[in-house]
C-alpha cells in the first residue's frame, strides 16, 4: 500500500508546480520587461509598447504584459489597441481589479456609447464565479478536488466503521460536485481563449451591413475601440453582435479578434 502513495504524491505536487515553475530560465524576455517598465516610468510610452510587443512576439504572454501594453497604448491615446490588450489581459486573469478599472476608463473615452443589455441574474452569478480564478487555477483545483473525492471514496469503501463510512460518503458527494464545477469553469475559460469569440474595432469608423455584401443596406456605424461579439464568419466577413443586442456584418479586416 505504501508503494502506491510513493508515486501518487509527486504527481499531485507536479500539478501545483507546473504553471509557475516552468520558463523561469528565460532571462531575455525578463530583461525586456525591465526595459519596458523603465521606459513607461520615464514617459517613453512608445518605447514601452515596442518592448512589450517584442515579448509577445517571442511567444510569451501573461496578463500583466497585456495589461501594461494596454496602459502604454492608452497613454499614447490609441484606444483601440489599449482596449484590445486589456481584454486579452482580462481573459488570462478574469476579475482582476486593476484591469477592470483601466478597461472601464478606456471604454469611457471611445466614441460609441452602447447601453448594455443587463444579463440574467444567474448568468451574472455564473460569470462572477467563473471570474474568481484564472483558467489554470480552475484546472488545478479540479484535479485537487478529484483527488480529494477519490480519497473520500476510498475511505467509504475500505473503512470498517460505519461512522467513517458515512463521513466518507458525504464528503465524496460534495467533492465530486466541486470537482465537476471547477472542471466546467476551466473548460469554459479554455474555450474562451482558444475560440476567438470577441473583437475590437480598429478602424476609425466602420459601417455595419445587413448582410456580408458591400451593396447591402447600411445598418449603423461603429467607431474605433468598440467591443463586438463574433457570431459567425463567411469569407472575409464576420457576423457581429454589439452589447445592446444589434447584429450585423463587418469586413473581418476592420476588427481584431481575441
Amino acid at each position: 500500500m505504501k508503494t502506491y502513495f510513493k508515486y501518487l504524491f509527486p504527481i499531485i505536487l507536479l500539478g501545483f508546480i507546473f504553471p509557475t515553475g516552468i520558463l523561469r530560465g528565460h532571462s531575455n524576455p525578463q530583461a525586456l520587461l525591465d526595459s519596458a517598465t523603465s521606459s513607461y516610468t520615464k514617459g517613453f510610452y512608445s518605447d514601452a509598447v515596442v518592448y512589450y510587443e517584442k515579448v509577445l512576439s517571442m511567444g510569451f504572454e501573461s496578463a500583466e504584459v497585456y495589461y501594461n501594453l494596454g496602459n502604454a497604448y492608452f497613454k499614447l491615446n490609441e484606444l483601440a489597441p489599449a482596449i484590445y490588450n486589456y481584454e486579452k489581459a482580462l481573459m488570462l486573469k478574469p476579475g482582476d481589479e486593476d484591469i477592470l478599472f483601466n478597461l472601464k476608463i478606456a471604454n469611457s473615452r471611445i466614441t460609441d456609447k452602447i447601453d448594455v443589455v443587463p444579463e440574467f441574474f444567474f448568468q451574472r452569478w455564473w460569470e462572477s464565479f467563473y471570474n474568481f480564478f484564472p483558467t489554470d487555477t480552475w484546472a488545478i483545483l479540479s484535479l485537487v478536488f478529484l483527488g480529494l473525492f477519490l480519497l473520500a471514496l476510498g475511505i467509504f469503501l475500505l473503512s470498517k466503521r460505519i461512522s467513517y463510512r458515512k463521513i466518507g460518503l458525504w464528503s465524496a458527494v460534495v467533492l465530486i460536485v466541486f470537482a465537476s464545477f471547477s472542471f466546467a469553469f476551466a473548460w469554459k475559460g479554455q474555450q474562451r481563449q482558444s475560440e476567438k469569440q470577441n473583437g475590437i474595432i480598429f478602424e476609425p469608423a466602420v459601417v455595419v451591413k445587413s448582410s456580408p455584401d458591400n451593396a447591402s443596406v447600411d445598418l449603423f456605424v461603429l467607431h474605433e475601440g468598440t467591443k463586438v461579439e463574433i457570431q459567425d464568419k463567411l469569407d472575409n466577413w464576420v457576423k457581429i453582435k454589439i452589447a445592446n443586442g444589434n447584429i450585423g456584418w463587418l469586413p473581418a479586416s476592420t476588427l481584431r479578434e481575441y
Binding site: G15, N68, A186
Partner: protein
C-alpha cells in the same frame, strides 16, 4: 357640366397667378458713358424680378472699390381689381477709373426662376484727367440758379491730385494676432474748411482699436513730385487679425469741403463802366466752398497662421513682445488671511486678448477670479502697456504649500519664434490662525469629503511576473489529462489491491463472523413464518439450527465438535460472559424440551422465539 364648371373656376383662380409670374424680366446695366481718369463712379445693375446667383463682370481696366452691394424692393399694386407685383433688385459697384481709354464692361448674369439673363454691355470712355470732372456732380451747390452767367471754369478745378486720401499699413502680411497699424493720411493742396468721414472704415476679420482721435489732427507738409501738400493723419487704427486668410479692407469714404478762390471770366455787358465795375478785384475774387467726395485706396491684408512647430502647449493667443513676472505679497500668513498673487504681463502686442494664466493652486486654498487691470496706452506707435492679474488667495488650513510654477507663452512675430516664460515656485507657510472666523462654530472633528481632482488609468504591474508560451493552458495540456486519468486509474488499483490483500491474508473467520449474523437472522425469519403458520416441528428445528449455526460461525467452532455437553466449555474458552452462556444454553434446552413435551405449544413457540432473538442480540452486543 358640373365638372367643367369647377374646372373653369379653378383655372380662373390659377391663371392670374401664372400671368403674374410670367412678366418680362429686364436686366439692365447703367453707368456714365464717360468719366475722367481717377474718378470713382457707380455702375448699377437693375433687375425687375427676384433674382439669384448674380455674377458680376470683371471690370477690366478699372479698380473695383466696393461691390456688389445689393438692395431689394418689392411692391404689390391693385389697379381696377388687377393685381400686379413688382420686384426690383439693384446691384451697385463703386468703380475707380485708373487708366485712360475706352473700355467695354462685359454683361453681368443673373438667374431668375431658373433662367439666366444677361445685362447689356457697357462702354465707358475714360478721359485724361482734366479740369471740371467733378462738375458733373449735381449735388454741388456751386451754380447759382437764376443768374445768367457764363460757365464758371476755374473754381472747380479740384482734381484727384488736389485732395486725396492714402491708406497704408505697417505690414501687409502679418501673423494671426500680430499688431498691424493702418493709417489713413489726407493730402491736400487746397485749404480745407471741413472734413467728414462718411464711413468709418470697418475691419472685418480684425479686432481693432483706434489710436488717434479724429478731432486732434496734426498737420505737416510734404512735397510730392515737386508739389507741396498739407498732410494730416485722419485715422489710425491698430488691427489684430483674428484668423488667417486674406482680408479686404474697404476704402474710407470722406467728404471734404474745400475753400476755393473763385475767379470769373470777365463780364461783358457792353457797358464799359459795368465791365470795369464787375471786373474789379473785389468782385472778381471770392471764396466758395466746394464739397468733394474722396475715397482712399482699398487695402488687402493677408494674415498668415502662426507656425505650428515649436508651439508650446500652454500657448493661447498672445502675439507680441512681452515681459512676464509674478510675485506674492507675503510668504507667511495665518489661516483665513488673504494673500495676493500678482501676475504682470507688459510689452507691446495684443495685450487685450491675453487671458489669465492657468495657475494650479493647492486645493486647500480658496481662490477667486483674478482682478484684471490693464494699463494700455494707445500711442501712434501702437498698443503697448501692461496687464496685471491679481489673485486673492485665502488659505483655510495650516501647512506648508507650494504654488507650482506656471507659464506664459507668447509668439514674437519679429523673430518668428515662440517664447515661454516660467514663474518662480512660491512656498507659502500657513500658520494656524489665532481665532476662528466669527459666526462659524465647529462641532467635533472638521471632516471633509475626499476631493477627487483627476482620473487616470492605474499604473502598470511591476515585474517580475511569470511568462508562459502563448496559447498554452494547463487545462488543455496532456499533463492535465495525464494526471486526471492517472488519479482515477491509481485509485482503482489501490482499492482493488487493498481488497485482494485482505482476502489473501486468509481472514476467512472474519468473513464467517460477518456471515454469522446474517445467516442467523435469515433462519430466525424463516422460524417466524413457521410460528405464524403454527408448524411446530419445523419451527423448533429452525430455531435450533439458527442457534447452533450462529455459535459455530461466530466463535469459529466446527459444527461437528459442538454438543450440548461441550458448548459451555467451548464458549468459556472464547471469553464469553457466563451469564450469556447460561441464557444461551437455557434457550437451547427450552427449545429441545418444547420439541418433545406436550402442552400449549403455541405459547411456548412465542417464548422460545423471543428468547432466541434476545440471546443472539446479547452476544452481538457483547462482541462489539
Amino acid at each position: 357640366m358640373k365638372r367643367i364648371k369647377t374646372l373653369i373656376f379653378i383655372l380662373s383662380i390659377i391663371v392670374p397667378v401664372f400671368s403674374l409670374k410670367s412678366q418680362n424680366v429686364e436686366f439692365t446695366a447703367s453707368a456714365p458713358s464717360a468719366v475722367s481718369q481717377g474718378e470713382t463712379f457707380q455702375v448699377t445693375y437693375k433687375v425687375n424680378a427676384k433674382g439669384e446667383k448674380f455674377n458680376g463682370p470683371d471690370f477690366k481696366g478699372f479698380d473695383v472699390v466696393s461691390g456688389p452691394n445689393v438692395s431689394q424692393s418689392s411692391s404689390f399694386q391693385f389697379i381696377n381689381g388687377k393685381m400686379s407685383q413688382s420686384n426690383e433688385q439693384i446691384y451697385t459697384y463703386l468703380i475707380h477709373a485708373s487708366e485712360v481709354g475706352t473700355f467695354d464692361i462685359k454683361p453681368a448674369s443673373i438667374v431668375v426662376e431658373g433662367k439666366t439673363y444677361y445685362s447689356n454691355t457697357l462702354r465707358i470712355t475714360v478721359e485724361k484727367s482734366s479740369s471740371g470732372s467733378t462738375s458733373k456732380s449735381p449735388s454741388k451747390p456751386r451754380t447759382t440758379p437764376g443768374r445768367p452767367t457764363e460757365p464758371i471754369q476755374s473754381i472747380d478745378d479740384l482734381s484727384q491730385e488736389d485732395i486725396f486720401v492714402k491708406a497704408y499699413v505697417s505690414k501687409s502680411n502679418p501673423y494671426v494676432g500680430e499688431q498691424v497699424i493702418i493709417t489713413y493720411k489726407l493730402y491736400t493742396k487746397v485749404p480745407l474748411a471741413n472734413i467728414r468721414i462718411n464711413n468709418l472704415g470697418t475691419f472685418p476679420g480684425f479686432w481693432s482699436q483706434d489710436l488717434i482721435k479724429s478731432d486732434q489732427l496734426q498737420q505737416s507738409t510734404e512735397i510730392i513730385n515737386g508739389q507741396e501738400y498739407v498732410t494730416a493723419e485722419i485715422k489710425k487704427s491698430a488691427l489684430f487679425p483674428l484668423k488667417s486668410g486674406t482680408f479686404n479692407i474697404p476704402p474710407l469714404e470722406m467728404e471734404a469741403t474745400a475753400t476755393l478762390i473763385k475767379q470769373r471770366k470777365r463780364f461783358s455787358t457792353g457797358d464799359p463802366f459795368f465791365d470795369q465795375f464787375f471786373n474789379d478785384a473785389f468782385f472778381n475774387t471770392g471764396y466758395e466752398r466746394v464739397n468733394k467726395k474722396v475715397y482712399s485706396n482699398a487695402i488687402t491684408i493677408t494674415a498668415k497662421p502662426l507656425p505650428t512647430s515649436g508651439k508650446p502647449s500652454e500657448f493661447s493667443s498672445a502675439v507680441g513682445n512681452f515681459k512676464f513676472s509674478a510675485q506674492v505679497d507675503r510668504t507667511q500668513l495665518k489661516t483665513n488671511e488673504a494673500l495676493n498673487l500678482k501676475v504682470t504681463i507688459s510689452g507691446s502686442g495684443n495685450l487685450d486678448m491675453i487671458e489669465a494664466p492657468n495657475i494650479k493652486f493647492p486645493t486647500e486654498f480658496d481662490t477667486y477670479d483674478p482682478k484684471v487691470n490693464s494699463n494700455i496706452s494707445t500711442s501712434s506707435s501702437g498698443f503697448s502697456g501692461s496687464k496685471t492679474f491679481e489673485y486673492l488667495i485665502i488659505p483655510r488650513t495650516p501647512g506648508k504649500y507650494t504654488i507650482k510654477p506656471f507659464t506664459f507663452s507668447y509668439f514674437n512675430p519679429s523673430t518668428g519664434r515662440y517664447y515661454t516664460e516660467t514663474s518662480p515656485e512660491f512656498t507659502i507657510e500657513v500658520l494656524k490662525g489665532a481665532e476662528q472666523p466669527a459666526g462659524i462654530t465647529y462641532s467635533g472633528v472638521n471632516q471633509q469629503d475626499i476631493k477627487y481632482i483627476g482620473t487616470d488609468i492605474r499604473y502598470i504591474k511591476l515585474p517580475p511576473f511569470h511568462l508562459r508560451p502563448v496559447g498554452v493552458t494547463f487545462f488543455a495540456s496532456k499533463l492535465y489529462y495525464g494526471i486526471l486519468i492517472g488519479l482515477i486509474v491509481l485509485f482503482g488499483l489501490l482499492i482493488f489491491g487493498i481488497k485482494t490483500m485482505r482476502k489473501r491474508r486468509g481472514d476467512a473467520g472474519l468473513m464467517r463472523l460477518r456471515k454469522a449474523t446474517s445467516v442467523a437472522t435469515k433462519r430466525l425469519k424463516t422460524a417466524h413464518t413457521y410460528l405464524k403458520n403454527q408448524q411446530e416441528a419445523q419451527f423448533y428445528n429452525e430455531i435450533s439450527a439458527a442457534l447452533w449455526g450462529y455459535i459455530s460461525d461466530k466463535f469459529n467452532i466446527p459444527m461437528a465438535e459442538l454438543s450440548m455437553e461441550n458448548v459451555e466449555n467451548k464458549l468459556l474458552q472464547k471469553n464469553v460472559d457466563p451469564q450469556t452462556i447460561k441464557a444461551f444454553i437455557d434457550t437451547l434446552n427450552n427449545c429441545e424440551f418444547a420439541r418433545f413435551a406436550p402442552g400449549n405449544k403455541s405459547e411456548n413457540m412465542e417464548q422460545v422465539y423471543k428468547e432466541a432473538l434476545s440471546t443472539i442480540s446479547r452476544i452481538e452486543q457483547e462482541l462489539k
